[in-house]
């Protein structure tokens, strides 16, 4: 039996049996639902006025335009922020649960090397997060079509899909450090604390004008939340994200391979 496939099978079984997979899907699918709700409100101003605060908020957010470009913007920007939170939850659970459930000691002295188990965890989290992103896009399309938003084009759909998946990929590349915090911190709280801290720091870096150099700001900048992405995100931004990804992976693998597991 291939060691990686065996470890990957084990990880998928744990994920399938857990409520976390359902919760992350439910949590993330709020995004296209909210986007669709905004579109419904904006398409009918009478109704928007009748709904008071919600419609005011919706008009502020989208400048009152109900069309596919605006709808995709909502999805994209929601992905940049929501992805950072939901993806961190997934990573914290996949790695941190072994410590919270004290099952880590069952993974250390096995014919399947520790590196393979960690690799399987990373592959599972990446597929899980990409799958969620894909699902959000598909649900988004379905809701958009159901609401009958104007100004659809295949080109717009493709460009938006690429942007959404790129934002997701950039966010996923920041997750190894969450895995490292879950391992070193032996549980859920340290990685979630880290995820919240990086969200705050990303805002600060953006305000200071250094967001394009700060890896945790890059997905938000790319999504266009802080203005047109092309003007801010450059090759250097992708490089810092890549370096963060590599550093997080190396740190996590090294920790699992050689840290004392005394608890």
């Amino acid at each position: 039996m291939n060691a990686f496939l065996a470890a990957f099978w084990a990880e998928t079984l744990k994920a399938r049996r857990s409520k976390v997979s359902l919760l992350t899907f439910a949590g993330f699918s709020i995004l296209p639902l909210v986007g669709g709700l905004f579109m419904i409100i904006l398409r009918d101003p009478e109704r928007a006025r009748a709904m008071g605060l919600i419609s005011v908020k919706a008009q502020l957010f989208t400048a009152g335009v109900a069309d596919w470009p605006t709808y995709f913007d909502i999805l994209l920007q929601g992905m940049a922020i929501g992805g950072a939170i939901v993806f961190a939850l997934i990573t914290a659970w996949v790695f941190g649960r072994e410590f919270s459930d004290h099952t880590v000691k069952e993974l250390l002295a096995l014919p399947t090397p520790r590196g393979i188990i960690v690799g399987a965890k990373f592959v599972l989290t990446a597929l899980w997060m990409l799958g969620l992103s894909l699902l959000i896009f598909v649900i988004g399309l379905a809701i958009g079509a159901a609401v009958d938003i104007p100004d659809w084009s295949l080109k717009l759909g493709w460009t938006s899909f690429r942007s959404l998946m790129t934002t997701a990929l950039l966010t996923i590349m920041l997750m190894p450090f969450v895995a490292w915090f879950a391992s070193v911190g032996r549980g859920y709280l340290p990685p979630l604390g880290w995820a919240i801290l990086t969200l705050v720091l990303a805002q600060v870096a953006g305000i200071l004008g250094w967001g394009d150099w700060f890896p945790w700001s890059v997905p938000v900048l790319f999504s266009g939340m802080a203005g047109p992405p092309a003007e801010q995100v450059g090759v250097h931004s992708y490089i810092v994200v890549l370096l963060t990804f590599i550093a997080g992976m190396v740190a996590t693998f090294a920790w699992w391979r050689s840290a004392d597991q005394a608890r």
């Binding site: 470890a7 857990s18 002295a109």
Partner: protein, 303 residues
């Protein structure tokens, strides 16, 4: 001779605390080695070092002739283990937990899971979620995982923990049969001394991180001290009589103890002395210290 377990000067410290101090262990193939120690004596730290879960500060560990660690290296295909309290994925059933272990052990034979479920008496719990198991059944699940791949060596930390008396006997017999019939080496720590006393072929006692005694089961009889216990209706008078006869008498509230060989070897003479003095014994027995007493005396927990 090649040993199943071999440590040389194994030491591990956590900050200023020396958890394990220069431990030299030799466990031969097919032995049942009882590893005794009080809480915090260093049993679990030693077991974790044997399994490559922690890196020793000094010394070397060999398991089945292969050096252990760093990087989790070791002959783990041939080793089954249970460390501290058993853990399982709570939302997975007993069978699914064992299926995960089967995959990670690289066992292609699907029947291995059902076999070990039967063997450990878990058949009626096979589809129950591990989170809903009693402590005893969780312990059985941990043992099932350790035995799943039919290892040559079992390293078990308190295997009888949480089991009811019938379960303790059952597991004891299972381990004994594995050792006798299949030549499996068993290294087990325990705080239930009678558990070890019954079937261990060798016993090691660890105290404050140091292996303070190691003995063969047969040696235990010779090492245990014996004493003559005497009860009489007039204990004070009996004590005076024996003291006058030249015995060093120790007394508790209702019993007198004589440790000298001339008393232990000739209790009839002691009885005669007491009868002649008009304080006949109502009970006279040579008692041998059990492992528990020996252990407590050795670790200084009892005089």
């Amino acid at each position: 001779m090649s040993f199943a377990i071999e440590t040389d000067g194994l030491s591990k410290s956590y900050g200023p605390v020396r958890a394990v101090d220069s431990v030299n262990l030799r466990v031969g193939p097919g032995e049942i080695y009882g590893f005794l120690g009080l809480n915090g004596a260093g049993k679990t730290t030693t077991i974790r070092a044997l399994l490559g879960m922690i890196r020793p500060n000094a010394g070397a560990v060999k398991v089945l002739g292969q050096a252990v660690g760093p990087n989790g290296r070791g002959p783990w295909r041939q080793v089954g283990h249970l460390v501290e309290r058993p853990a399982a994925y709570p939302e997975l059933s007993v069978r699914e937990n064992l299926e995960i272990a089967r995959h990670l052990q690289g066992i292609a034979d699907r029947s291995a899971t059902s076999l070990v479920i039967e063997r450990l008496g878990l058949a009626s719990y096979a589809d129950r979620k591990a989170g809903a198991l009693s402590t005893g059944n969780l312990q059985r699940l941990g043992l099932a995982r350790a035995l799943l791949h039919e290892p040559e060596l079992l390293i078990l930390d308190e295997p009888a923990n949480g089991l009811d008396p019938a379960g303790v006997v059952e597991i004891r017999e299972l381990l004994a049969s594995l050792a006798h019939e299949k030549g499996v080496t068993v290294f087990m720590s325990s705080h239930i001394l009678t558990e070890v006393e019954g079937h261990a072929t060798r016993i090691g006692i660890i105290h404050k991180g140091r292996l303070i005694e190691e003995l063969e089961a047969e040696e235990l009889d010779g090492l245990r001290s014996r004493r003559l216990e005497i009860k009489a209706r007039n204990l004070e008078a009996a004590q005076d009589t024996l003291a006058k006869a030249g015995f060093a008498v120790k007394a508790s509230e209702n019993t007198l103890y004589l440790s000298e060989a001339r008393a232990i070897d000739a209790p009839d003479e002691v009885a005669t002395i007491l009868v002649n003095a008009g304080t006949p014994p109502i009970r006279l027995a040579v008692e041998q210290e059990n492992l528990e007493d020996h252990f407590l005396r050795l670790t200084g927990e009892k005089e």
